[in-house]
């Protein structure tokens, strides 16, 4: 049994079904890429794991059945989400955003501002007035502050300057080396994913259509499922 085990996951938005059978496993220390074209169900999978929408199928994390837990209890098992579109708490300052949901552990204010010095400089600014990239850093910092065992990054490098993206990727690499945090990454730049991910899972129309080691990813497959 894996750390996170997702089997035949289904989910719907009202009457329209978005997931038709997603399979996905992650083990501690692993970095897995979740890939697919726009609208194929990557974010929906993440929302289902975090119990933000109701879902069917197997959903287990750290030996617990996630279906039985409300969103906040699932999170406390060690899920750290960086959501699509950032979703910082607009009316809170940067520092307050980081503190609001922090849980004790290695990651604290000091370590996060070390990773993103920009957040330190802006720590008493309202997050609504941050630049897009700054908000993205804040969302990552916020998730790290919960000291997750599984970090989920949904388009975490969207809108970041190349130099910062590199920093984030190297931070992920460091996380991978130094901790046994499991990481699930959704991102669009294949080259960058290849640097850090161990495995990849491809979604098409709400279904897992391919999964395997990153090294086994052929141009053929990527052409077919992500179009490059």
């Amino acid at each position: 049994m894996s750390f996170l085990s997702v089997k035949s996951l289904t989910a719907s938005y009202g009457v329209s079904q978005a997931l038709f059978g997603v399979d996905l496993d992650i083990n501690p220390g692993e970095v897995v890429a979740l890939m697919g074209r726009n609208g194929m169900g990557k974010s929906t999978t993440v929302k289902a794991i975090c119990r933000m929408i109701a879902a069917g199928g197997t959903l287990e994390f750290a030996g617990q059945n996630l279906h039985a837990l409300p969103s906040h209890k699932a999170a406390r098992l060690g899920l750290g989400l960086v959501p699509e579109g950032r979703r910082c708490f607009r009316d809170l300052t940067v520092a307050e955003n980081l503190l609001a949901t922090s849980r004790p552990g290695d990651w604290d204010m000091g370590r996060v501002t070390q990773l993103f010095p920009r957040l330190g400089e802006r720590h008493s600014q309202l997050s609504a007035s941050l630049s897009g990239g700054e908000q993205q850093m804040l969302a990552i910092g916020r998730a790290l502050m919960t000291n997750p065992r599984l970090l989920i990054l949904d388009e975490a490098t969207e809108g970041l300057a190349p130099i910062i993206r590199q920093e984030i990727w190297s931070a992920i690499n460091r996380l991978k080396q130094d901790t046994d945090m499991a990481i699930l990454v959704i991102d669009k730049t294949l080259a960058e994913l290849e640097q850090v991910c161990d495995r990849a899972v491809m979604l098409e129309r709400g279904k897992t259509v391919w999964s395997g080691a990153m090294t086994a990813l052929t141009p053929d497959i990527t052409e077919r499922y992500v179009g490059v």
Binding site: R37, E134, E155
Partner: protein
């Protein structure tokens, strides 16, 4: 002097002690794509806000087709020929894709003050909207509610709405953000063809796209333009590499 479509002259804007724009003068010429790049928080969106009228500069001027538009409101600037896309999608979520596009067509044709005839029944509005949706690849989704679109599809719609305006100049804030690899590739191709219609001021972090598209690049750091030049010039500029590009180029 070359003819310019859009230009800023010495734009300056502060938020408290922070100088988000410091004496910025840039211009956009016919047929070109002028990319603005720079670290996060450098002031790119702030600059765009001032160009489009949602922010008022503390000093400086904005000119469109040689006319000073600094004192015009956002909607007046849009009518004067400025088509923009937002960094974070700004769409009417409850409405359908087609309705969102028609909104743009309506604004462009000044037909918003009709109270009786149905908007969707207006041939010319509809043709215009559908053409734009077709071009960004949303033709199959016209009846979908915007809230049901994926993130990437919303980004496409964002561009389509700007298209319906048939503007004199496009101002795009990170149009690639959230698009998948394939989507970025397609949009890159699309923008490439769009420059014939109207020049584009493009803010983007996707360097593949910027390097593929830009005729000129300006680099903004801490509210100041530190360099303007061709792709090659910028790529090899050490200051730019240090502040922004890192190893990636």
């Amino acid at each position: 002097m070359t003819e310019t479509i859009l230009a800023t002259h010495g734009i300056t804007k502060s938020f408290g002690a922070l100088k988000a724009s410091n004496d910025i003068s840039i211009d956009l010429r016919p047929g070109e794509i002028h990319a603005i790049i720079g670290p996060n928080g450098a002031g790119k969106s702030t600059l765009i806000g001032q160009i489009c009228g949602s922010l008022t500069p503390d000093a400086g001027r904005v000119e469109l087709m040689g006319q000073d538009v600094t004192s015009l409101s956002t909607d007046q600037r849009a009518r004067a020929g400025l088509g923009r896309t937002f960094q974070i999608s700004a769409l009417a979520m409850e409405d359908t894709v087609l309705e969102n596009a028609i909104l743009g067509a309506m604004g462009a044709s000044g037909r918003s003050w009709r109270f009786w005839s149905a908007a969707l029944g207006d041939r010319s509005l509809r043709t215009r909207a559908e053409a734009a949706l077709e071009r960004v690849g949303l033709a199959e989704n016209v009846t979908k509610r915007c809230a049901d679109l994926s993130h990437g599809q919303r980004r496409q719609l964002e561009v389509a709405v700007a298209l319906t305006l048939a503007p004199k100049a496009f101002v795009m804030d990170e149009p690639m953000a959230g698009l998948g690899a394939e989507g970025s590739k397609n949009l890159t191709g699309f923008l490439d063809s769009l420059r014939q219609e109207a020049p584009i001021l493009l803010v983007e972090h996707d360097m593949d796209a910027v390097f593929a598209l830009a005729d000129r690049i300006s680099v903004l750091v801490y509210g100041e333009v530190i360099a303007t030049g061709s792709v090659d010039q910028i790529r090899s500029d050490p200051r730019v590499r240090e502040a922004y590009l890192g190893e990636s180029a």
